[in-house]
Symmetry: C2
């Protein structure tokens, strides 16, 4: 396998945690990795290959203009490496908008896809992850794009979570067909009528609600990028609030703190199951290459997971499956 | 105080739990209550007054047509009692759409309000509830309505949670002014320009994100009814998934079960703090009367809480405060 290009300069904890995660993926998991960035700033890379890139796109920079202007940035170089066939995939914890723009500009769109979408795996306690898309690439969507999101989400759920016939639902505010705003009703009609479900091997289950996302009632939740991003961040906020409240409950007195120690193992497992770092980040689906967008706050663990997922998606030929799925529509 | 009219027939657990909750409010909290429904089906009401109503609007009935058609339904009779001055407020755990339609049709809108909105108090661990509105009354909104929602949310946060100068934010997908879809950007401009914040005594803090809802960063989150309902149900789903996962962690083995017993007190307090039953349901703001919409699955506790909140909002003159707030815009 060609190496995974890892943007060493992107993320709140770059380059230190990024390089540490890349080393872990290379040494512990045996995945070929190439770092992209300023080699002089990367510290001890333990002989990992480096693609030199002199510029860094800041976390809060304007995506479009910085990608056009900073051609020697780590992000643009990473995307270029995939396009040129010197890397098999890219991973970045940097500026999300700039990561999307770099991938789109350098790798290009898959034929038949109007807009790439961000797919997020949401953990389901005791079940299989639910794929939520679009989680933020397109704040404004046309109804026909959501059919493409459904097709892509279906491929991803199959390639990543081995769900043979994913249950696909449209995020709305009631299960009945007539529920939602005008946009969602239009999307429902298209998703309900077209032949995408049969050609994609999906089970179209109609409208689903916010409370279904963290359950096994649905495998792929389709929505516009605005609603998807609100949903994702609401979930993150709820997790964080609840886990914080749980720690406070355990910290009540000596007796409860002792109980907390007795529960340490199962509670650590619970946090690991629900923590974003374990899911390996989001995928930008619809570009001609595998592009993993990690959380800005990614730790070395999160980066190692992201690289592992990128390698899995390369090995399973996800991009070809996406192309085939939309050709059939 | 005039009695609170309680729809005895509405809700998954009606009439049993509703009557039990009404009795609790009357006997334990000393709040005057009148039940509305089929007196023959209410069991032992311990001398609570009853307004006779022969019809029941089903949980899944079409709201508009059933309210127009079923004038002798418990919901319509409860709303009529408020309009006629024989009750001070109404409480129902029945069909949400029909509750809104009854209140709107019988009580009418407050002058200056285009559309009533549902305000939901979201628990904030260790902090003050965040008021989310519109949580589902209007799937499709105009930007100017959100200014009214902001004004009403501000009054509610002050009357209910005693927040003198509520921090009001617009739900979006980034904190910067330019973030969001076209609708949200339009709302931002209106909320940012108009004099509502000063006249309402609010602190306008601009865009907020889903992850802020369960924190004290914001007191009132303004959004359209589609996004608000998705957010609310996503929060409910996350709570339910996480609490379920926590119980599974405690149920690992004998040792962890013993730890769970040691933690029972603080964990019960945590669940009580976060459970929807404790917050007393949603308020329909913008109609000429206090209307509390309780969860369909409301227990007796939830109904007693809803009646308590209704009485508080009557005593504090919330409806007059709402009228005064929108007159100033």
């Amino acid at each position: 396998m060609l190496p995974i290009a890892v943007d060493a300069m992107g993320g709140d904890n770059a380059p230190c945690e990024i390089v540490a995660g890349a080393k872990r993926a290379a040494l512990d998991l045996g995945i070929p990795v190439v770092l992209v960035g300023r080699s002089a700033e990367l510290g001890d890379t333990e002989n990992l290959a480096v693609i030199e890139a002199s510029e860094v796109i800041a976390m809060d920079a304007d995506p479009g203009s910085s990608v056009r202007r900073m051609r020697d940035s780590s992000l643009v170089r990473a995307a270029t490496a995939v396009r040129d066939g010197s890397a098999s995939a890219m991973v970045s914890a940097g500026n999300t908008g700039a990561t999307m723009a770099s991938a789109l500009l350098r790798m290009g769109r898959i034929r038949g896809i109007n807009r790439p979408a961000i797919a997020i795996p949401v953990p389901v306690p005791g079940g299989t992850h639910t794929t939520l898309l679009d989680a933020g690439a397109n704040a404004e969507c046309r109804p026909e794009w959501l059919v493409e999101f459904a097709q892509m989400g279906c491929v991803y759920a199959r390639d990543r979570f081995r769900i043979d016939r994913p249950k696909v639902g449209l995020l709305s505010i009631g299960e009945e067909a007539g529920k939602g705003n005008k946009f969602v009703k239009d999307c429902f009609e298209r998703l309900n009528e077209s032949a995408w479900a049969e050609s994609s091997g999906a089970e179209w289950i109609g409208n689903v609600e916010g409370r279904d996302v963290m359950t096994d009632h649905v495998d792929v939740v389709v929505t516009d990028g605005f609603t998807g991003n609100v949903t994702l961040k609401t979930l993150e906020g709820a997790m964080s609030a609840l886990l914080g409240r749980l720690l406070a409950a355990i910290d009540t007195d000596d007796r409860t703190r002792r109980a907390g120690e007795m529960l340490a193992g199962p509670l650590d497992a619970m946090v690991a199951e629900l923590h974003p770092d374990s899911t390996g980040g989001a995928l930008l689906l619809g570009v001609k290459g595998v592009c993993v967008i990690s959380h800005g706050s990614s730790s070395a663990d999160a980066i190692a997971n992201a690289i592992r997922i990128a390698a899995e998606m390369v090995n399973v030929n996800m991009v070809e499956h996406l192309s085939a799925a939309v050709r059939k529509k």
